[in-house]
């Protein structure tokens, strides 16, 4: 798919009907630019949320679907918080991503999502390795002052909180696990982590793949039922 920047807009391309199935009212955009002013990644590869909204409202959907821009967006939603017209810009980005041919979505997301559907996490990290990493980090923590008696309980039935894990926390950012574990410990919280399907990062969500998102969310619901946990904590 090649999508050269059009040098002019053809009138027959301006088909608002293309967007009718999106109830986001992007055609009320006033082009004030607050979305772009609020966006943490605006300017990267010239990324400009205001232009994305305009492209969509002008019916130039096919062009934007093939572009890099929708994938630069972090979907943080700051744009729609400031939008005076209340346009759901992050939702619109997701809808644009969903229209992309699946084999053409960014490779890392394709691979991670395939891993998640096959193994329960984006890294395809085997269960033994996952449990080893958690226990290793927990042991390290007991060396810190006041945490001598810290321990984690994996797959503990009936816990108050079941928490999911962002895959980077058992990959490159293991130190970050400690921050919130310390909070749990100080609060005397009764919490647990599931050893299967623990992934909290849904690349089904980020790639606009509703079916994959449903499967991954369903597995977390299954974990809640299996472990009879009372509260789900799903940080992402």
């Amino acid at each position: 798919m090649t999508n050269p920047t059009p040098s002019f807009v053809r009138l027959e391309d301006l088909d608002a009907g293309l967007c009718k199935h999106w109830p986001y009212a992007q055609d009320v955009c006033l082009t004030c630019g607050m979305c772009s002013g609020a966006c943490p990644v605006a300017g990267m590869n010239d990324f400009d949320p205001r232009k994305v909204v305009r492209l969509v409202s002008m019916g130039m959907l096919n062009w934007i679907v093939g572009e890099r821009w929708p994938w630069i967006c972090t979907m943080c939603g700051k744009c729609e918080q400031v939008c005076p017209m209340g346009i759901d810009i992050a939702d619109m980005m997701r809808a644009i991503r969903a229209l992309r041919d699946r084999v053409k979505i960014p490779g890392i997301l394709q691979d991670g999502l395939a891993n998640a559907l096959r193994t329960g996490n984006n890294l395809a990290l085997p269960k033994e390795d996952f449990v080893f990493i958690l226990e290793d980090v927990a042991e390290e923590m007991t060396e810190e002052p006041g945490l001598k008696d810290f321990s984690i309980a994996i797959d503990k039935p009936g816990a108050n909180i079941l928490t999911t894990i962002h895959n980077k926390l058992v990959n490159t950012h293991t130190e970050d696990l400690k921050h919130w574990w310390k909070i749990f410990h100080a609060a005397g919280e009764d919490w647990t982590i599931a050893s299967d399907n623990w992934e909290g990062t849904s690349w089904g969500y980020f790639t606009g793949d509703d079916e994959a998102m449903k499967i991954m969310a369903g597995r977390i619901v299954d974990n809640m039922r299996r472990l009879k946990a009372k509260t789900l904590l799903w940080p992402e």
Binding site: V28, L30, T31, C32, G33, M34, C35, S36, G37, A38, C39, A42, G43, D46, D48, R50, K78, V82, C83, P84, M85, G86
Partner: protein, 366 residues
Amino acid sequence: MMSSDRAFKELFVNLKGKQGVVIGAGVAGLTAAAALSRWGVQVWLIDKAPVIGGHAIQFSCKAIEGCVQCGACQVHERAQQVSRQKNITFVPGARIVRSRGNGRLELTLAASGQGAGQSAGRFPDTLNADALLVTTGFTVYDPSHKPYGYGQFANVLTNLDAERILHATGALARPSDGRLPRRMAFIQCVGSRDHRIGHDWCSKICCGSALRMARLVQSRQPGTAVTFFYIDVQSFGRQFQAIYDGCRERIRTVRAIPADIRKTADDDMQVTYFDPQDRNATDAVFDLVVLSAGLTPTADNAVLASVLGMRLLENGFFCPHDNDTQPPGMFAAGAALGPMSIAESIDSAGKAAFDMVRYLDGGRLR
């Protein structure tokens, strides 16, 4: 001259003994009161404030080399006209709490609470009105909830704050330290054209008033750099092009509305926006930021409309009285109907006064 003008008008209509009540003594109310009085109507001009002139009397003349048609002087002229008329009674610090009757109304007054003490007991408890005009104007949007630190940062002002400072001191200095700003920014459309807060309308006057104010500041405080953040310039008014041509050479215009303001250690304002020319996220530092806060319906419109049995539009402004959309004898004019410039308010009030005269005369006058 005034009396011969009246004598001339009395050849056509006889409104002796007719009483008109005008609610709101801003530029529209003053205009209508003066016009009604010239037709021989006994006028009661009520305002909840202790003084006449409304918003517009707080504004400065924006002339630089010549008149820029801002309209500020018009208010003073109208106020003088009103003060010269014997058949206009100004009722300050009052509001209407009850209205009875159909045709001839009996209105009950109460102290508004503004300027209390000065006016208590100074006005009658009830007034009779053969016709009534609402000229309650507007309320400036309070931008505290927009991401600009209004109310927290001393050097972020609304257009109305800036007008008041200019009017009182003749200069626009930074509230934090009294220093004259070298770098100023105007941010347009704050609280208007904003669907999220239900303000779908354009406030119409802010592009012209911000640009006029910017030019006035540049003329009084030479060397002031001005950046104007806007969506599109709304060029209402016959004289707009004349002032706009002068602005474009002297004011940097950026077609983007900033999304954030932070305060630096020096009480400067760091403004974050996406620069459409550089195609990049940009932080620019200003000494002073003026928010063009939108014109919104007056806060007590709903109460007043319900007391009088008048209709409001969905957006909270008064419904125009044309086509029998308001009860007989009840009229509305000026920015009570929606955002309007001083000149438009004067036009609107003049027409409403004539509509009232025709009504009071039984529709004979054409």
